[in-house]
């Protein structure tokens, strides 16, 4: 949690195997819910069970991760970020090894830069 809070704009957490392959995604919201569960009076049943029984990141992560490829166009990346309602998207290579994470703030900046270049 301290590492997440120390990051400037990266918020979600990505779970990787020992070989560095991306295997899951743990959203910032879910992590906050879990950490603060004992300080909140309202839970869904699912959150209550997680509060009682979750022990490792695997218990909270989502294995269906939306990702981008290194050579993918910015337009497509933004489109997927908006469609799935996510701000952070991991970038993986052809073997599924995680290379980095791209934030919507950065993709928007890039998109605007490209748009200005096209207009000029």
């Amino acid at each position: 949690m301290d590492r997440v809070l120390a990051e400037r704009c990266l918020r979600d957490i990505y779970v990787v195997s020992r070989e560095g392959k991306l295997i899951g995604h743990l959203s910032y919201q879910k992590l906050i819910h879990f950490v603060l569960a004992k300080h909140r009076a309202v839970h869904t049943r699912r959150q209550l069970m997680q509060r009682v029984a979750a022990e490792v990141s695997e218990d909270l992560m989502n294995a269906q991760v939306v990702y981008a490829k290194p050579d993918e166009e910015v337009d497509n990346v933004i489109d997927r970020q908006l469609e799935h309602g996510i701000d952070d998207m991991p970038v993986i290579d052809d073997q599924g090894v995680m290379l980095g994470v791209i934030n919507i703030h950065i993709t928007m900046k890039e998109f605007r830069k490209n748009s200005k270049m096209i207009i000029e």
């Binding site: 004992k38 049943r45 069970m49 009682v52 979750a54 269906q64």
Partner: protein
């Protein structure tokens, strides 16, 4: 005004009044479910319902079935097999024992103290009430744990037990329902196996189908209609094939999460968004069944059920904790934290009322459970407070935030 317009008007009135009362209850730190029930009671035929020519009729049955199906799906979808394993023998053993304790005490008390009612034998009535007694509502207990920053062994075990209790309540109810609505004993047992196994198979198949569709749907906003439609379809099929719709929905929730693995939350989250809407409709409709004279005529049953369930929960929890090797504070205090009972109980009694064997006594049973639900929701948090105080697990009380 035609009857369809009246139904639409009635639903609108119930929903908005339920919402209004619920907001007031939240502000006063009272349980919202109790507020929804009271809102429904105000518009029952004995009160404002007759003035406005509003009455709950057969039209409410499919709404209640769907609402309870959604709740059962959410209960099933909230649990994974791994979580059950991680809970430990104290939580599992105590949960089973206190559920069984409540069922046994309510059944025996009703058999000994209640008299035959018109249209039903004491045995059937005792079994029916016993089946409903198992479930516990977690919200009231969690609110107390949060308000007093409680922590310790009693709090930990209590959280685990209330998390499991609704699921156990539905399983117990489904098992008993088959027995009390069947005819001969062999027919009952045969029917029991068919209804329950069939429901589990249908639920598992529906869960697998849901997972297959969900894997192909990437837009989040499409998941709600997918899951909602699947619940309607599976509950509808269960009713047509005379399987347990509650077990079917619960099995579907559990299995869809199992098949989708670590992404299983996706099939539960969309329905969680509409859970409060379902509660408002469901509990105001439940409250609208209230009848003053029925309530006063059956105060004996209200008293027997209320006291027997508390004793059963306490004794069952203590025995279960003792057998599973829990610490003395858990053995002594846990049972008092399991008193609240609300949503699932009302749903179960409404389901029971639609069965032919209980048609003549539906109003009586619904009113008894409505009354006891209000009592449990008021007394439950107090009992939980005393349990945690007795166990020495209360922390500094939080200040309630002002709106």
């Amino acid at each position: 005004m035609d009857s369809l317009s009246l139904i639409t008007l009635y639903l609108g009135i119930l929903m908005l009044s339920g919402l209004f009362f619920g907001l007031i209850a939240s502000r006063l730190g009272l349980p919202r479910v109790a507020a929804y029930v009271i809102a429904g009671m105000i518009f029952s035929p004995d009160l404002l319902g007759s003035t406005l020519n509003l009455k709950v009729g057969d039209w409410a049955e499919p709404l209640a079935t769907v609402a309870l199906g959604i709740i059962a799906y959410l209960i099933g979808g909230s649990i994974t097999a791994k979580q059950i394993q991680q809970m430990g023998k104290t939580v599992l053993g105590t949960a089973l024992s206190e559920s069984f304790g409540a069922v046994l005490f309510v059944f025996c008390s009703m058999m000994l103290l209640a008299s035959d009612k018109a249209g039903i034998t004491t045995f059937q009535m005792a079994l029916a009430f016993a089946a409903i007694a198992a479930s516990t509502a977690p919200a009231g207990t969690i609110a107390v744990l949060h308000q007093y920053r409680a922590s310790g062994p009693v709090s930990s075990v209590l959280l685990g037990v209330v998390a499991l209790d609704d699921a156990l309540g539905i399983v117990v109810f489904s098992l008993v329902l088959v027995v009390i609505t069947g005819e001969t004993l062999s027919a009952k047992l045969g029917l029991a196996a068919l209804e329950i196994c069939g429901a589990l198979v249908l639920g598992a198949f529906a869960g697998w189908g849901l997972k297959e569709f969900a894997s192909r749907i990437h837009k989040r906003e499409m998941r709600l209609p997918l899951v909602f439609g699947a619940i309607l379809l599976s509950v509808g099929l269960a009713e047509i094939w005379r399987l347990s719709p509650l077990l079917t929905a619960m099995a579907m929730g559990f299995s869809s999460r199992y098949f989708l693995g670590f992404s299983g939350d996706q099939l539960v989250e969309p329905i969680e968004f509409i859970e409060e809407l379902v509660f408002i409709i469901f509990f105001t409709l439940g409250g609208a069944h209230f009848e003053i004279n029925v309530f006063f005529q059956h105060m004996d049953l209200i008293g027997i059920y209320f006291i027997a369930r508390i004793i059963g929960k306490y004794v069952g929890a203590s025995l279960g904790a003792m057998i599973s090797g829990a610490s003395p504070p858990v053995i002594r205090w846990l049972g008092l934290g399991l008193v609240p009972q609300a949503g699932v109980a009302i749903g179960l009694v409404l389901t029971l009322g639609h069965k032919p064997a209980f048609h003549d006594v539906a109003t009586m049973m619904v009113n008894v459970i409505l009354a006891t639900t209000l009592l449990f929701e008021l007394v439950g948090p107090l009992a939980a407070y005393f349990a945690l105080r007795g166990a020495g697990e209360l922390g500094v009380k939080r200040k309630r935030r002002k709106f």
